[in-house]
Symmetry: C2
Subunit: 420 residues, 2 copies
């Protein structure tokens, strides 16, 4: 029945329901196979002066938060374009570099982890619908470029990771052919991971998958590569992110679809995307995080949230599956039964349950899948997301981890866009 | 107050409480470090005609169940002492070999997995109290000597495992020095393992631990070794068993101690040992298992339970910690909340809770630790244990997995022994 605006809301709602059902069907049939690891310049359209950042597009350098600044400047120093931090900052501020939202290339970036032309990217292919997602190698816990550290050890480690490590990993992958990343995620959910902030089981499994095929010609290189790989408990995170990009791309460009296909922060704004409004971001100021800070740090030290890793939540993982990860729930300051309640609330705003991502502690119920912005508006329940916390100043790095709530305004605006 | 028997029960109960408190203190302080992998003959007193079997002592070959017979005969064929199965059986029945309970050497054996003089044994050292436990390498799922398979592929795989694999593993261990096995178990409990039948997380972690130090001189050997190690989801089981032997030895030989230090089956009888009655077994006919059978098999095909792996339960793992392993609980035919109840019942018969083995789904309560046979008698609640199920005929192998209940009679007799 048409209302005064000339829009037939009931008919449109039915169209949206149909679009969403189609989107869920595609998401559930999509796959994610890790097929390669190559420099960005060989995979996507990226110039030498471009840096891909997480979240919705930034207006320019003046909007860049501390960790992002640190990472860009470290990159300029690494490439010999700047000798000091101050010089790097000057170059960046002069307009000689360009910040571009990674999402425009279906790349998932992390906090300050900018992606330059030479950055090694995992290539994640959905062989069903042909979409491809990308993400950079994870440096492990402690000081990391992606959290804004740029000291000499951090930079040396990063350089090694992008060269010696990447070469070895690529060779093992070539021998394997491909790795089914969703199969590992399914198992990891039975092993205490929620598929976003906790990646301990999935990281152990990917290490075991590639280990037999690692090049052994040089024993020293082999040992360095394997020590890094086997000790990095969040190595799998970018694989989840790239898989999220590949899988959720199957729900993009579906007219009338009200399902969230991405959520991300750029350090200033938080944004979401929905299937029916491709490339449009619905934004609001970044929300604060609830969580635990490492000793000596407080909320006042925190950088505003930045990262694309919440694409995990959009495919039914992360905070939406927190009930699967008691050890993480406790780390985030709550009890385990509170974590069950967090997941249970998310079912109210999702249109489906994941057919193969199952939560043991909820008697193997599928994870909440397909956040419908209309349901968020109707119930007033906003989606939650997990995130690491970076220090607001460049050069310090990760200072905690926690979870946040998507600003209601993002979902309200996204829903309204479908009734325009 | 003395009763008619001349025994002062109240005073004795206080002595038992004190003994148990001392035993728990020792169990909680004991450690388990994997330090070596060597042939049994270099580690323990074992003759060339001796075969160590699981559980309480058997009277002789006539008592050996199908899987045990299969494993002994396969061993005779492997060593060139028999050409055929029939010939092997003849030799074994003639009295030319001797079956010895593995527990007399602080070795943990598995189902039909007999241990001969040349069998490679993991050496698990408790550096705190100086005890050492041993167990043989696990062959992985599918056909396995330890479940009574003895076909040519099973034997070839076993021979390879005991030679090429053992040599590589030993070398990586030498470079590492030692591995803290309890530290891995603590993490595995947060990753969906219960530390006995499900060893998926712990197996992935031990592979990650040794991988960087594996010998790489021969690329083919490296690949074979790593493919076996990284695909074997129960590789860690014998490490848990040897750790159980090392740790629980600290509670042996404590006068008046009523805590169970071992439980095991020999295919005929089920037996338990308690700290206050060293080397004495309290036995009853083996109980049936509740569980799931692989397609095509039923309870009628099952061999009576045989194995020492239930030493895991005596140190607070396995069925006592089943609440930590939703995926296993479901496999065993129950719901996850039923698994919570199984663990919760076990607290009633245990004197303590493990200080570092924690169950996330029970809000990180310590696992039930220290089964007190007096409490079993008082409450009528018998301890439970997890187990694989072997076919009763030699040559077929594993046909399922499940859990059983320790015969009440074992606990009653053990408790009574302390009041004699």
């Amino acid at each position: 029945m048409p209302d005064g605006s000339g829009v037939d809301v009931a008919a449109l709602d039915q169209d949206i329901d149909r679009a969403n059902a189609g989107a869920i069907d595609r998401i559930c049939h999509a796959g994610a196979w890790l097929v390669d690891l190559q420099p960005a310049r060989d995979l996507i359209d990226i110039g030498n002066d471009e840096f891909l950042h997480a979240g919705p597009p930034l207006a320019g350098w003046q909007e860049a938060c501390g960790p992002l600044k640190g990472a860009v400047i470290a990159n300029l120093i690494e490439r010999g374009r700047a000798a000091t931090f101050e010089q790097g900052e000057e170059i960046a501020a002069s307009g000689a570099i360009r910040l571009v939202s990674a999402s425009t290339k279906n790349v998932a970036a992390t906090a300050g982890g900018v992606i330059a032309a030479e950055t090694q990217l995992f290539v994640m292919k959905d062989k069903v619908f042909g979409n491809v997602g990308f993400a950079a190698i994870n440096e492990g816990r402690g000081h990391a470029l992606r959290y804004g550290s740029y000291d000499i050890e951090t930079r040396q480690k990063y350089r090694w990771m992008e060269s010696e490590f990447a070469t070895s990993f690529r060779e093992s992958l070539k021998r394997l052919g491909e790795i089914d990343i969703l199969a590992i995620l399914r198992q990891a959910l039975n092993m205490g991971d929620e598929g976003h902030s906790r990646q301990k089981a999935a990281s152990a499994m990917i290490a075991n998958t590639v280990a037999p095929y690692m090049p052994t010609r040089n024993a020293d290189i082999f040992e360095r590569v394997m020590r890094f790989l086997c000790a990095n408990e969040i190595f799998f995170l970018p694989l989840t992110m790239a898989a999220g990009k590949a899988v959720m791309a199957s729900a993009r460009n579906i007219p009338n679809c009200s399902i969230v296909t991405a959520m991300a922060g750029n350090g200033v704004d938080w944004g979401i995307q929905i299937g029916g409004r491709d490339d449009e971001w619905f934004t609001a100021p970044v929300p604060p995080l609830k969580g635990l800070y490492f000793e000596g740090f407080t909320e006042a030290d925190a950088s505003p949230v930045m990262g694309d890793s919440e694409v995990a939540e959009s495919m039914g993982l992360g905070a939406l599956a927190i009930a699967a990860a008691p050890a993480l729930a406790r780390y985030m300051g709550g009890t385990v039964s509170e974590a069950y309640k967090l997941t249970e609330r998310m079912y109210a705003i999702c249109v489906s349950e994941h057919p193969t991502f199952k939560i043991g502690t909820l008697e193997f119920r599928g994870t909440p899948l397909g956040i419908d912005v209309r349901r968020v508006v109707k119930t007033g329940i906003s989606p939650i997301f997990n995130s690491g916390i970076a220090h607001r100043e460049p050069g310090i790095g990760q200072i905690g981890a926690g979870y946040g709530v998507v600003p209601f305004e993002c979902c309200r605006a996204a829903a309204a866009s479908l009734y325009r």
